[in-house]
């Protein structure tokens, strides 16, 4: 059995699976049940001045039979008094001293307010803080959350204020509602952050009711944008983690958040540089017990890979993530259809014919049966046919021999001054 323990920015945890700051970490009752189920840590639902919520506040986006492929919410930070939360954090930490409790914090961008909340929360024994600069709705109207998180100067300044008094590590949670997340990540590092976490939820509107014309969800017939999360946002989150992980100026650990639903997702985030992951939507969909499969799956995966520790995984794929300009223009793949496996549904032919490069031929064999064949000279290796194919193994993407590697950046350099030893003096 591999060692699943992590030391994330100085915060020790029995495993890399933490519940994210959200409804599942709203109370001591929930967090204690989560720890009993096997979660390594919990980021307590954001503490701040008690606020008012609206009803209703959640919406699921279901896709092609899958419930909650995406999830949307307009819920705000905790609506419970700080004293109540602090008492429950203290009791939970006392009962589970080896589990990780991080306090998510959000206050107005004022130095004394940050000092006050950090001191009061640290006194009950949290293992660290996560500054919430990502909440996209409600709190942003009050100048907090994403309103701060979209301004690098405010991220840096408020991180600095928290760090001025915090004795435990400070994680800065970033909003994805920004063009370049590395700008705010860098600001957090400049402010002294011990780590960063990403992503918070993405501005979204889950849907519109075709009968009533109300938004989904709606509050007395009116709607507002919410925060999007769940499996649908994983590719966006993974890219943002990768962009920060490969940026040498952002040299702090990353906690990966965004659509982590099983151990495979967690491994992907860790390979792409996350030192641990946080989970919310999957737990809201299926309950706390999903962590059992996450722990078992990760353990088996590490054993299969011959790795002793989960920390051996972190960042292994980062060197493989680069810029488009660094990709080899001469690398070539083509599609090959395995006629033994192909069910002749023709989806690949239709997709290629209508929307790609018209390189899949419908042919007739001597026995009169139809089959599909790729005209490889015209195949650009776009992958579309293999993506739409409903049968695993019916279409393979094959690497074919090509010229020596040359990137677009190398090409640009080469064609600028194609010196070849020939004098141009006429």
């Amino acid at each position: 059995m591999a060692d699943l323990r992590i030391n994330f920015a100085g915060i020790k945890s029995p495993n890399p699976f933490w519940l994210a700051s959200a409804p599942p970490t709203n109370s001591g009752y929930q967090v204690q049940r989560a720890f009993e189920a096997g979660w390594g840590g919990a980021v307590w639902k954001t503490l701040g001045e008690p606020i008012l919520n609206i009803s209703s506040r959640f919406a699921g986006t279901h896709f092609n039979g899958q419930r909650m492929a995406g999830f949307n919410n307009t819920e705000l930070i905790t609506d419970r008094p700080l004293e109540v939360n602090l008492k429950e954090i203290y009791e939970t930490k006392k009962r589970f001293p080896n589990h990780t409790i991080i306090a998510s914090l959000m206050v107005e961008p004022q130095q004394e307010k940050w000092h006050e909340i950090v001191k009061r929360v640290e006194a009950v024994g949290v293992d660290g803080f996560e500054l919430n600069f990502g909440c996209p709705h409600g709190m942003a109207e009050r100048g907090m959350g994403a309103a701060s998180g979209q301004v690098p100067e405010l991220v840096e300044k408020q991180t600095m204020w928290a760090k001025e008094v915090a004795e435990t590590p400070v994680i800065v949670k970033l909003t994805p509602n920004i063009t370049d997340i590395t700008a705010t990540a860098y600001a957090a590092v400049q402010g002294g952050a011990d780590a960063i976490s990403m992503i918070n939820t993405i501005n979204s509107l889950a849907g519109v009711d075709l009968d009533t014309w109300n938004t989904i969800p709606h509050v007395a017939g009116k709607g507002a944008h919410g925060g999007y999360c769940g499996p649908a946002v994983k590719p966006i989150a993974l890219n943002m983690v990768a962009e920060c992980a490969r940026n040498s100026t952002i040299n702090v650990p990353i906690s990966g958040i965004g659509g982590v639903s099983d151990w495979r997702d967690a491994v992907e985030f860790m390979l792409m540089g996350a030192g641990g992951v946080q989970v919310c939507t999957a737990a809201m969909h299926h309950g706390f017990s999903i962590v059992e499969d996450m722990v078992d799956g990760l353990n088996n995966y590490l054993d299969d890979k011959g790795l002793d520790s989960v920390e051996d995984l972190v960042g292994k794929s980062v060197p493989k993530y680069s810029d488009w300009g660094d990709l080899d223009l001469n690398y070539k793949t083509v599609a090959r259809i395995n006629t033994d496996t192909c069910i002749n549904c023709n989806k690949c032919h239709i997709a290629c014919e209508d929307t790609a490069h018209q390189c899949i031929d419908m042919l007739t064999a001597k026995d009169g049966s139809n089959y599909l064949k790729v005209h490889e000279e015209d195949c650009v290796g776009c992958n579309l046919c293999s993506i739409v194919c409903p049968v695993d193994g019916a279409i393979d993407m094959i690497e074919i021999p090509s010229d020596e590697p040359m990137t677009w950046k190398e090409r640009e350099t080469a064609i600028k001054q194609p010196s070849c030893g020939i004098s141009l003096v006429k």
Partner: protein, 78 residues
Amino acid sequence: MERPMSHHKEFLGEKEKIDNLYSKGYRITAVNETLSGAFVEFSRITEEKELETEELQLLNPDTRIYFSTLIHKQQKAQ
């Protein structure tokens, strides 16, 4: 109906023109890429020590990779 997106024959034709010039000792000495394609200048020094120049207008995307790979190789070899 002919494959509308098929550029392979065009590529082979343009590649052949480039290879012909290379076989005669021409090398690429200038590239000007415009909306009308890549205008690639080939030059060679004759036995009489004179400079001869040819220009090709190349349209095919695969040819643009091909000729730039040749330049890249040229530069690496120097």
